[in-house]
Symmetry: C2
Subunit: 333 residues, 2 copies
Amino acid sequence: MVTPMQLLLNDYQAHDAINEGKAFANSNIALIKYWGKRDADLNLPITDSLSIHLPGLGTEASVRILDGDCHQISIDGFALGTDHAAFKGLNNYLTAISDITKHHYHLSLRFTIPVAAGFASSASCFASIALACNDLHQWNLSTKNLSIMARLGSGSACRSIEAGFCHWHAGESDNGLDSYATQLDLTWPELCIGLLHIDNTPKPYSSRLAMSHTQKTSFLYQAWPTQVAHDLKVVQQAINTHDFQALGETAEHNAESMHACMSSAKPALFYSQGNTLAAKAQVFKAREQGIPMYYTQDAGPNLKCLFLQHDLDAVLDVFPNLQVIQPFGDAGE
Amino acid sequence: MVTPMQLLLNDYQAHDAINEGKAFANSNIALIKYWGKRDADLNLPITDSLSIHLPGLGTEASVRILDGDCHQISIDGFALGTDHAAFKGLNNYLTAISDITKHHYHLSLRFTIPVAAGFASSASCFASIALACNDLHQWNLSTKNLSIMARLGSGSACRSIEAGFCHWHAGESDNGLDSYATQLDLTWPELCIGLLHIDNTPKPYSSRLAMSHTQKTSFLYQAWPTQVAHDLKVVQQAINTHDFQALGETAEHNAESMHACMSSAKPALFYSQGNTLAAKAQVFKAREQGIPMYYTQDAGPNLKCLFLQHDLDAVLDVFPNLQVIQPFGDAGE
């Protein structure tokens, strides 16, 4: 049987490798969420999704060919034991590659973002590995094929190959070769993301498990694809026209609906903590006071605020410790 | 045009009144929730629902005919001003009755349960008024018609005319004469309800508004009727067979899904507070430790725990301040 990785890489196996492949990939925050898979092995989603990248926050991967019969993996300089929570996923990914290249690897990862706390560290992680392997082996894969390759490690990683707004097309084929992200040819220099760190300890359940449990047990999830199709159109239009209110309202609604799907699972899954609820109440209050700010939330207790650069001071009055990201650089105000 | 109250009461208008009509109605807790209306004026629901009564917790109503041109209403001995949040609803309800009887009323209400905090005080309130008026005017309405009459004040009040497990049939007719509650001819002496008081201050938005906002703006709500139909069957069967796990799991799932509908409204509605989340985590932990307990939650931050009498000591170890209710009396263990 041909593996999904073979479908991508078979043509490239003969290329010569350089000494070290290196790459940095940004993590990304979904404005329209990815929740639910039509194929769990290939990370093929039920719906499209749409993200914005977080420049500078992500993962640096370095990969070298190793003389040995197993892979070696280190994170932030520490060798990963086989019993580490992240080992199996990373090792399986490298094995899918080495099945084709017939090499074992030393993989070194460095994170500039908290791991497993809902900051999409797995997205930047697998994107950086795909990019680093492409560099090592001089494959010159297209961004489309790199996106597919990253997706095989973690679904949302397909949106971390390119920067800016990225649209992951769910695709329809069984082999997943039509399920990858493309960059929107649009920028929004005024747009700011504020990372609100509420608790950066690893989350109680992985998003992979939470997603599967939701799909299996939530009745309300039946309506999720309809919502995503609607929200995606609204957000695309909002990005086109720089309609911030439509972007913010829809992104917030979409995120809350994803969490609603989880809390309607049986038994319920919650990523919010008391401080998450308190922070949301502060955002609602700020809006009542005329500050146009919204939030989105991933599989963790932290929030990501959305606002425009000219409201930065007002937003920092609400959340003085906000980590402010400008995906498209400074708008020069 | 014939009003809904006239449909019920026209045959009775000539009856003689006694000096004072009095009644106590228990509040009730829905195990299968009522959320969403097909007719907002008549409080006709989208789905069936099923409740258990809380003996001794509810509302005592006393009603007298008043010489005057407006109604007088008092709660716990204090006269209600026309600007009080509860005045309009109560006054409108009395007016619907006085349109037929041509009398004005003095209505005195006493509550043995916190008001507007998600303890179904409006259910017992309107049920007690319907019963007290029936007493005052010696109408001898059937329980069916009393249930319909209570429903016109507050939907869930139709489940507070009788005790035990009550099933509110949504009905199909436009006039609502087929939308009322019937008592299940089943008891469960072992069943305990534990009221966990987290915050008894009035809730930030009425359930009436929250319900309407959910129906208008939540995509996920589309799947709610399907869930209710499923959950209702499971809970009816669980009551029949005294299958506590099925009852608890389904009631908890149903409540969380109702709240998920609210949090997927645009903008999101939350009744949970930080302490609500913490209490839910304690329930999950207790279950992991082998204590079979579940919770349900209404439009407020408080929880109602479900457990069996033989686990009372273990449950009180988890929540020492729990207010324990035995709807069917002591099981005699």
